[in-house]
Subunit: 207 residues, 2 copies
Amino acid sequence: MVHYKLTYFDARGLAETARQLFVLADVEFEDNRLTIEEFQKLKPTLPSGQVPILHVDGFEISQSAAIWRYLARKFGYSGKTPEEEATADSIIDHFKDFLVSFKHYGAGLFFGKSQEELNRVRKEIVEPACKFYFSVLKKYLEKNTSGYLVGSDLTYADIAVAENLTSLKNTNFFNPDEEKTLAAFHQKVNETPKLKEYLEKRKYSIL
Amino acid sequence: MVHYKLTYFDARGLAETARQLFVLADVEFEDNRLTIEEFQKLKPTLPSGQVPILHVDGFEISQSAAIWRYLARKFGYSGKTPEEEATADSIIDHFKDFLVSFKHYGAGLFFGKSQEELNRVRKEIVEPACKFYFSVLKKYLEKNTSGYLVGSDLTYADIAVAENLTSLKNTNFFNPDEEKTLAAFHQKVNETPKLKEYLEKRKYSIL
């Protein structure tokens, strides 16, 4: 049996989409959650000093989206045609563009910045980025009729986007009462049978 | 015959890797290069108001890396195994992380910022980002024995990285005399027979 080892911090963040792909596929994996001290020790051995890292029988993959795509293809969540795969990949890259802005807020929380500084980042950086990002997501959802972002079934793009919407809800950037299309999408993904059960039990983390 | 239409500005930038994949595969495509005025007209119709955009018989793909990956898979430049594909994807995402910094310089050039401001961006943002990015690339090149970044043959990761090294050379961020490993890699990719011929003839643009 293939041994999968996913290494990240003890948070959802950039590892959670991979964890959910394992859950959906009923595939066991080692969920290696590092303390800050353990991460500092490991850092010099990593390709870019960053986590998440996935080891597959010793073979190492860095970069979150590359890890998700690898697992999505293995487990059947990457899209059914080359065109669906390309659309899922496009959405993932729109999401990653948004993260460039959102991570200023995440890093601010993590490093315990003042409420004043967090408010500044919220207003000047993250709220405008959310507005733009949400408009892009809604274009995809309104063009598709299934309620998913791509084609007729769940893909890794849905998982990554819905997972991040939970973080945006936790930090008051996403208000389901104001964003009906996104709220319906978020609920649909989170009600996927195996995911629903997992989401009810998983450890809470704000991000 | 499939009709491919690649829409971008009249520059190399984020479209050039796609153009080179067409050249390598001997596949005809419509190289639709927009003026700023044409782009402004098109912008509201695009999924995120951005180019490049690839149309494949009317089907639309946004986001540069998603376009490159789609073409690379079609034409056989995405890697030979799921693990090679994941490694190429990882490298592309390391490259895109670097672009978040480098684009400050590119935008500065494009919008005609003062030499003083360009120098500040160079020292404070792009030079530190280059140092880190080059160290990541060298780890991949030193681990692989073929001279390419992934496996034994050319992939889209090699094309995208080599293409950007040309831009970094043009803007004096990459000095081949100081970076021997990267210089050998850059030369190897640029000497790929069909590419070599194309590179000698293509229109010059700094980026």
